[in-house]
Amino acid sequence: MSARPLQPIHSTQRGDARTVNAAVGGQGAIGVENLSVEFKRDGMRTVAVQDIAIEIAPGEFTALLGPSGCGKSTLLNVIGGMVRPTRGEVRIDGAPVTEPSARCGVVFQQHSLFPWMTALGNVAFGPRMLGHASPESVAREFLALVGLEKFAHAYPAQLSGGMQQRVGIARALATRPQVLLMDEPFGALDAQTRSIMQEELLKIWSELKTTVVFVTHDVDEALYLSDRVFAMSTAPGGIKEEIRIDLGRPRTPEIALSEKYGALDRRVRRLIREETLKVFNSASR
C-alpha cells in the first residue's frame, strides 16, 4: 500500500453521539462531492485524487478499479474517514464523514486483525465498543456467517490468509454498518482461494444488503462482484468512466463465459490499459 499522510493518532476529533446512533438506522447512501486530496511529501505537493463526484445508492455494490497509484485507496480512506480531504466532502446518509466510525466497516488488504485477540475477540470488538449487551454472541453469529465458528478461539497467526480475511469481513460486518469498505481484501490470496472468497462475499452481501465499495486492480473481480464499476484515471486520480454491470443476480463464476460479460470485459480492460500505459510511459521517459 502506498504511503499516505496519516493523521497522528492523538489528533482524534471529539467523538460525537451521532456516529454511535447512526449505526442503528440509516440506509448507506454515499455522496462524494468535489473531492480532492493533496499530500505533502518531502515538501512536494502531490495531488492524489482530484474533483471526484460520485453518488452510490443504498445497498449498491460498487468497485473502484484502476492501476496502482490511481488514488483508489485514498478515495476509500476518505470515505472511511481515515484520511481528511483537502477539498470537498463525503456524506453518508447526508451526514458528513469526519473520522472513522462504526457507520463504515472496513476490510483491509491484510494484517489488520488484532493479533492479540482470538478470532472471536476480533469480531466481538465492534459490538463491545458499541455497548452491545452480549458482544460474543453477536461475534459467534458473524463467525458462523463466514463459516469459521470452529476457529473462534484461534489467534490470527494460527489462521490461513483466506481465513484471516474471512474473520476481517465478519469483524467489519458485526457492527452492522450501513457501508462496507473493502481495500483489495483478496489481493494477497492465491487465485483459487480468491475466487471462492468472492462467491462467499456475494452470498453474504445478498443476505445483508450493505452498501459496498470495493477497491481492486483486478478487472475480473470488479466485473464479477459489482453493480457498477468506477474505472479510475491516474495522475491525478479521478473517475475516468463509470460502467454499469447489468449482468443480473445471483451470479456464478460461469457468468464470465457470457457474451455480455465479454463485451464489458473488453471495454473495461481497454480503459484500464490506457491509464496503465499512461503511468508506464511517463515513468519510463
Binding site: 492523538h10 482524534t12 472511511g80 473520522e99 466510525s101 470488538f125 465492534g126 465498543m129
Partner: protein
Amino acid sequence: MQRTLARESAATAARSERPPRITLRSLLAGPGWVANALWAAAGIGLFVLVWTLIARRLGNPVLLPTPAAVLEGFYQLLADGYLVQDVLASLKRVFTGFLIAAAIGVPLAMLLAYFLPLRRLVLPLVTLLRPIPPIAWIPIAILWFGIGDKPSFFITAIAAFFPIFLNSFFGGTSVEEQHMNAARSLGAKKASLLIRILFPSALPMIWTGLKIGLGQSWMAVVTAELIAAQSGLGYMIQTSRLNLETSYVLVGMVTIGVLGSLMGLALSGVERYVLPWKRK
C-alpha cells in the same frame, strides 16, 4: 537431509518395534531441555575445573579461594542464617523498586505514545535523565532517604525505570496505524484505543522492558547496598571484603548470578501466558 534420515530411521525402528538406543551422543544432539542442561552442566563444570586449577596453583585463598572453599563458605553462611537474611533483604529491595518503576513507567509510556503534546513536554526530560547511571543517584538517595531500605528502593526503581519506560514507549509508538484505524471504524474511542489497542500491541515490547528492567534492578541493588544499606548481598560482599573473607565475597557473587539467572528464566517461563498470541 539429516532430519529426513532421522525420520526414516525412526520409522524403521517403529516397524521393528525396537526402541531407539539412548546414548550420551544422541542426548547431546537432541533439541530438548535435557540436552540443554547437559551442555550447560558441561560448560559450568569446565569453568569450575579451570578455576580449581588456577586457585590451587596460586595457593592464596585471599586472592582466589578454590570452588570447594566457596562451597564451604556457602554452607556456613546458610547454616548461620545470614545468607537467607541477606538474600531476602536484597529481593525485597529489587521487587519493590521494580514494581514502582513498572507502575510509573508503563502507564507513562502509554500516555506519551498516545498524546503528542505530553510526549513533547516530557520526552526531552527523560532523554536528559537517562544517561545518569543509578550509581550517581546514590549520594542524593542517601541525603533524601538516609541508610536502609528506602534509598535502595529509590536506586532499584531508577535502574528499572528507563528500560521499562523506553521499551514500552517504543512499543506504543510502533502500533500499526491500520490497527488504530480498524478499531476506530469499529467504534472505539480514546480510552478504548489506549487500553485495548495501544497497550496490548505494545505488550511484547513492554514485556521485554520488564525483563531488562528486572535485570538492571538486580544489578543496581548490589551497588546500592555496597554504600547505602546495612544488609543485603551487596552489604555482605562489602563487609566480607573488609574482613578479607574472599570466599564469602564469592558466595555473594555466585548467589547474585544464580538468583538473577533464575529470575530471567522465570520471566521467560511465564511469557507464553502473558503473550499467548506469540506462542509457537
